[in-house]
């Protein structure tokens, strides 16, 4: 089935890029689901039902994958045939030390239940670091240095997880 062989960017008629117009993605997704969702084939032959189910599932997975930055970058690496093996990730000592410090700070904030200012400062700091990582991810991607993309994305995920931990503390 040709449709199922397209990569997700091709599927939605989008340019391969880490930066997507999400509204555009939404529109394409809706347009295609309106055509291929199994509900549109409830009176159809079993063949059509099966194909529609496959396409619709593929559309959903593509949509979920492309919507989020992290999964989108991971997917780009995948279509560039870069082997995204977690074990390849070796962090520099500086980064690891920073992570230990960050974990400690967040634990402290959790125990002290507050220090609203501190939570806000930390959140802002993390957001900035993530923005910088996005820039360097794009940069490495354009130079096809995929192992560096992968490494920076791994860092990005660390910061993102910290942010998720901080979120409930923001009042």
């Amino acid at each position: 089935m040709d449709i199922l062989k397209k990569n997700y960017f091709e599927l939605f008629g989008l340019k391969v890029s880490t930066q997507l117009d999400l509204k555009d993605l939404d529109e394409k997704f809706t347009l295609l689901q309106k055509q291929f969702h199994p509900d549109k084939y409830s009176n159809s032959s079993d063949t059509e039902k099966r194909i529609a189910l496959q396409i619709s599932s593929y559309l959903n997975d593509g949509y979920i994958t492309l919507r989020e930055f992290v999964t989108r970058v991971e997917y780009i690496l995948k279509i560039k045939d870069f082997n995204t093996d977690e074990s390849k990730t070796l962090f520099d000592e500086e980064f690891l030390e920073e992570q230990i410090d960050l974990n400690e700070s967040i634990e402290q904030l959790k125990i002290n239940k507050g220090g609203n200012d501190k939570v806000n400062v930390l959140t802002l700091d993390l957001t900035k670091k993530m923005e910088l990582l996005v820039v360097s991810i794009n940069d490495y991607l354009s130079r096809t240095e995929y192992d560096m993309v992968w490494k920076n994305l791994a860092k990005y995920k660390f910061y993102r997880n910290h942010l998720i931990e901080l979120e409930p503390m923001i009042k």
Binding site: M1, D2, I3, F9, E10, L11, F12, G13, L14, K15, V16, S17, K28, T30, L31, L32, Q33, K34, Q35, F36, H37, P38, D39, K40, Y41, S42, N43, S44, S45, D46, T47, E48, I51, L53, Q54, I55, S56, S57, Y58, N60, D61, Y63, I64
Partner: protein
């Protein structure tokens, strides 16, 4: 066959309206309803369109449904059968609350009634059968298909059971849809509204919530949550206990009597703003509005907590919620409405009867799916509970997280850990907890006939497909061996198609002749549809997409079907339909491929490839 759907909509295929219904299979009551020409028709039994989901069985095994036609003293009475769907006979804590003799039949929980075992699916099918008869008698024609609603929080096991029960009652199931989603359809169509909605569904025994976004004909479920043991019954229970604690003259009454009174008191609060005076056995009880509010507040708090978590999960801001849609009899309680307004500061939609709104939404959807309606609505729903497999140490590994849009497929590759290993066991579970024992076991599947290789060499790709009904099927393929054998596997609890067919034919053994007449007419109609659709498609683009020999193959099979369809052998007709479908499969694929190209048109290949 609806090849036409991927072609120019100006070709109208509308023939006569098919008779389809929506069925709300509820815990307390069930409803069957149709929607035609913008009108709902609720089919009534003894003047009531709420059919109690209860069954009575005599010692001669005569079954009656609904308004209890059998004599209560001599027959066996089973109320609220839906409560037992998805329960297995190991859940003794749950089952011991009920006065039934539980057994096991066809891998399912069963009740022993007068020395005969009835599985939960058997019993539920009695209700479906009754609803089907009710609709057919009213319309004086046979029912062609139905959309059936299930609680959003139902797991795969429970969905499969409901579907099997309907199939056993000879109902062609167009789709299972979630109750809150059905309610949203009913409101969405009525008001043509767009925006973000919370569907708040508080029934007798369960609480369901879904967050939906509605825009130009797309109903997109963003998240869903719920509690299967929270409902109006809990409110009755609290009031009953209050009566017990505060009226010493009534302490001798048993809890179920007190609960009946509590229910009456609760319902009186739907229409009053002051206090309620109520009398039980000549003892007067006074309950003020303020105290009532205080008593039921813990229940409402619990629901609000769940709503907030669902909103959080949906990724939208609480302030972006436009309206609450109220579903379920328990939402008639005025106090609930005012608390929701207070907490969420939004509009409340409650003008459709909360007992009927789900059946109405299902009827609308049935009308759309059957092709009766030209309404351009699409429903995008989500998986309510994460699907996972057991890994080392009794831990659950999630394969498809909850609130993922469905249909969806996930693949996972397994291998062997012993040289020459030929079998592999996969335990499929559903639920959010870390430990396997805290999740619902959907069954164990065994992959057999793995070619013997050194440990770690086989690559067995297992595909978990969730369809638009939210139902799971599993396929396994060994990637390294030459055979690449792949097999459909049904988890142990699900009945296989042939089991279902056997059960249906057993149930209808006496009416076999009727059945074959019906089968013949169904096959003829199907053949007609296939022929018509294919001819239209060939007219449109047959010469363009097919070369001469391909064209000839399809048209000769088409002619064969026309001939056979004039005969009286439904097996032959079915067979030829299959042959035709098989031989035209590539053509269907070509048309679909072409249609996707035209949909994302405006972008050349260069654009797409960076």
């Amino acid at each position: 066959m609806s090849l036409l759907q991927i072609k120019d909509p100006k070709t109208d295929v509308q023939s006569k309206q098919r008779f389809v219904v929506g069925i709300d299979f509820g815990t307390t009551n069930s409803i069957v309803c149709s929607y035609e020409n913008s009108n709902f028709k609720h089919y009534e039994h003894n003047g009531n369109d709420l059919v109690p989901s209860s069954i009575s069985i005599t010692s001669d095994h005569d079954v009656a449904v609904g308004s209890l036609l059998n004599d209560k003293d001599t027959s066996y009475y089973i109320p609220s059968i839906k409560r037992f769907i998805g329960v297995d006979d190991q859940q003794l804590d749950y089952l011991k609350k009920y006065n039934h003799t539980f057994t096991n039949k066809d891998n399912m929980l069963a009740l022993n009634v007068f020395d005969k075992d009835y599985s939960v699916v058997d019993l539920s099918s009695f209700i479906f059968n009754f609803l089907k008869d009710l609709a057919e008698k009213n319309e004086n024609r046979s029912l062609e298909a139905a959309v059936i609603t299930v609680p959003a929080y139902f797991n795969d096991f429970q969905r499969q059971a409901v579907k099997n029960a309907a199939l056993l009652a000879n109902i062609d199931v167009l789709r299972l849809i979630n109750e809150p989603t059905a309610a949203a359809i009913a409101y969405g169509l009525e008001s043509n509204s767009i925006g973000k909605f919370v569907i708040y569904d508080l029934g007798g025994g369960t609480f369901d919530v879904s967050i939906l976004s509605l825009e130009e004909g797309i109903f997109k479920v963003l998240s869903t949550d719920g509690n299967t043991i929270l409902g109006g019954d809990d409110i009755d229970f609290i009031i009953a206990n209050w009566i017990k604690d505060n009226c010493k003259h009534l302490r001798h009454l048993d809890l179920s009597t007190l609960k009946d009174h509590a229910k009456n008191i609760k319902e009186q609060f739907n229409n009053t703003t002051s206090e309620i005076n109520y009398s039980i056995d000549n003892h007067d009880i006074t309950l003020s509005k303020g105290l009532f509010r205080e008593l039921i507040s813990p229940i409402i708090d619990k629901t609000i907590k769940i709503v907030k978590s669902a909103i959080n999960e949906s990724g939208i801001d609480q302030n972006d919620i436009d309206s609450f849609i109220l579903v379920g009899g328990s939402t008639r309680i005025f106090e609930i409405k005012s608390r929701l307004r207070e907490v969420f500061n939004c509009n409340i939609l409650d003008d459709i009867d909360p007992d009927k709104v789900v059946a109405q939404g299902a009827a609308i959807q049935a009308n759309i799916l059957s092709g009766n309606s030209k309404e351009d609505i699409l429903l995008l729903d989500v998986l309510p509970l994460s699907l996972g497999i057991e890994t080392m140490g009794n831990l659950s590994e999630k394969i498809i997280p909850r609130n993922t849009a469905i249909p969806i497929v996930a693949r996972k590759t397994f291998t062997t850990f012993k040289d020459g290993q030929t079998k592999l066991l996969i335990h499929i579970i559903q639920g959010e907890r870390e430990l396997v024992s805290d999740c619902k076991s959907l069954g164990r599947i065994i992959l057999e006939n793995i070619p013997p290789m050194v440990a770690g060499a086989p690559r067995i790709e297992v595909e978990f497909q969730i369809d638009a009904d939210g139902l799971l099927s599993v396929t396994a393929t060994e990637k390294n061996s030459e055979t690449k054998a792949s097999a459909m596997i049904k988890p142990a609890y699900g009945l296989t198609d042939s089991q279902i067919t056997k059960m249906i034919s057993d149930a209808n053994a006496s009416a076999e002749e009727d059945m074959s007449a019906r089968r013949l007419s169904e096959s003829k109609v199907e053949a007609e549809r296939v022929i018509y659709a294919l001819e239209q498609a060939l007219d449109t683009d047959g010469s363009e997409l097919l070369d001469e020999s391909e064209y000839d193959v399809i048209t000769s099979e088409l002619l064969k079907l026309k001939e056979i369809a004039n005969g009286n052998d439904f097996m032959k007709i079915d067979n030829q339909i299959k042959v035709l479908e098989l031989k035209s499969e590539f053509y269907v694929e070509r048309r679909m491929n072409r249609s996707i190209q035209s949909l994302i048109a405006g972008r050349g290949v260069d654009d797409v490839l960076e």
